[in-house]
């Protein structure tokens, strides 16, 4: 069964507001799926329906083939959740929180203790394990929440903006851990605003706007789908003529900027082949060649902005 999450026509309304509007998508085993959207787009509401925290008003969610409404316990047993707001028991210590999680997921004591020690060490909290969570900083709390979500070695992990408001160190620590988990086979569903994070981590990205999915694709393809025209930057070891460049197959326009040429093309593949052939023909060696893809930020703004592409 390659699909870990299958969502069909998921809908949630709050009074007159349709927070999530007939959303359908799937997440494959082993991938990192990014769920992006502006504030209030419905990311958290969707995540909470996927994790069985709130019921949906319409549609269906299957996790590992278990319907989240009909077999919630079987589904929940197999995933971990890092929710939007930190929710450890602040009157308990980190260690007690982890032991509670171990019990709630049915782990035996030895395994719970071994896992807790490993996770706290990885996340740099082991020395503070017997301190009440009350006294933790935001970053420490977030790392603890991640440890709590991972105690039962889930095959699937949901994270709702896990790095929002954290400093570079905590963010880095969490992102590195996520990548390592994914390498070891954990499927990850990640909600974020952060384009850079999504771009670096995700295999595929779903973009939601006002409760509706507007695009789902790999980050690179999302970017290129937005902008039909690509830019290349090329420099040669000797001067070449602008007309010769502009006349090449696949090149729409060639402008000189400093010692480089900026090429506009509809087909970067064809344009690069032409440039390489041109370089061989006129004996001008290529010094540098860069493709300047549109950024994911641009793609995101275009997809979620008022005017649709």
């Amino acid at each position: 069964m390659p699909n870990v999450i299958e969502v069909e026509n998921l809908t949630k309304t709050f009074g007159a507001v349709t927070a999530v509007d007939r959303v359908s998508f799937h997440v494959r085993r082993g991938e990192i799926f990014g769920f992006l959207g502006p504030n209030g787009a419905g990311k958290t509401t969707t995540t909470r329906m996927l994790t069985g925290v709130v019921p949906m008003d319409g549609g269906s969610v299957r996790i590992f083939g278990h319907d989240i409404l009909k077999e919630p316990v079987q589904a929940k047993q197999r995933f971990g959740v890092v929710p939007e707001t930190s929710n450890a028991y602040v009157e308990l210590t980190a260690w007690q929180n982890l032991m509670l999680m171990g019990d709630l997921y049915g782990l035996d004591r030895t395994r719970a203790e071994r896992r807790s020690r490993d996770l706290l060490e990885t996340l740099g909290l082991y020395g503070r394990r017997d301190q009440k969570v009350q006294g933790y900083s935001k970053g420490m709390k977030q790392r603890l929440i991640l440890a709590m979500a991972l105690i039962h070695e889930p095959e699937l992990l949901f994270l709702d903006e896990p790095t929002s408001g954290l400093d570079v160190q905590s963010t880095q620590m969490i992102l590195v851990l996520l990548r390592d988990l994914n390498t070891d086979g954990t499927t990850i569903f990640l909600t974020t605003h952060n384009m850079e994070e999504a771009n670096r981590l995700c295999d595929r990205i779903g973009i939601i706007r006002a409760g509706k999915i507007v695009a789902i694709d790999a980050p690179e393809r999302l970017k290129t789908a937005i902008d039909r025209l690509h830019r290349l930057e090329v420099s040669f070891d000797r001067p070449v003529s602008a007309d010769a460049l502009a006349g090449l197959d696949g090149v729409v326009k060639a402008d000189r900027t400093g010692d480089k040429w900026r090429i506009v093309t509809e087909d970067p593949d064809l344009a690069i082949r032409s440039l390489v052939a041109f370089s061989a023909d006129c004996g001008a060696a290529i010094l540098t060649l860069n493709t300047l893809a549109p950024s994911l930020d641009e793609a995101f703004l275009r997809l979620t902005g008022e005017e649709r592409p």
């Binding site: 709130v54 929940k76 929710p83």
Partner: protein, 251 residues
Amino acid sequence: MNPAAYGEQARRAWAIARKDIRVYYLKGPVLIFGIFMPVFLFLAFFLGGRDLPLAFLLSGLVGMTLFFTATAVSPAIFPWEGQARTLERLAASPVTIEAIVLGDMIASVLFGIGVTAVTILIAIGLGLPLLHGIVLGVSIPIAACCFSAIGMLLAVPPTNVPSNIMMLSTLLKFPLVFISGIFVPLEQMPAWGLMLAVCSPLTYFTDVVRYAFSGAHHFPVMVDIAALALFALVFTAAAMRLHRRSMPRRM
């Protein structure tokens, strides 16, 4: 391991109970309340009810102690956890709502039994003979289950403001005490009073305690215990059902 099996869910409920005890019961003010409440009730009774026999007074006192302690904290746990967002954690973990309710009930049962045991020890220390220890030992846990289920029923309205629930539960709990044969013996009640009294589980518990300490009773002991068990079952089932319905509205 089938995580949804009853045994497994019961084990997880026990984990929730231990969490409740740590987080909500083993707190200074709650413990002080637990210890001082019986003491103050003793004082009030001795100062107020000189003309009634000691065994009668004490049975009412033990009944009130168990009733008030078993319903003291549990109604507020759901609102507290809703407010602190920890309820979302429980909702996302592989435990059923029934297991969460059961866990909260176990914690309040243990708290109620603990404080009631203190009260009974004081009573015995005051020279009151315990005539039927086994009957008392059987009926206390059953009554504790029954009262803590009442506590969970009081927690059903899906508010995340603990003080609302505390207010509501106080409003409902006190009238129950007055119709349960604690201040007025059942024999001296008017017919309409007795009709109300048979509807209150506290009546049966007070009756059993009276029997345990003095041998006197209004209903047969088996009727008392059966009534308590029936109330416990019905209230527990109702609490679980109603919480299943109101849980989504807390999120």
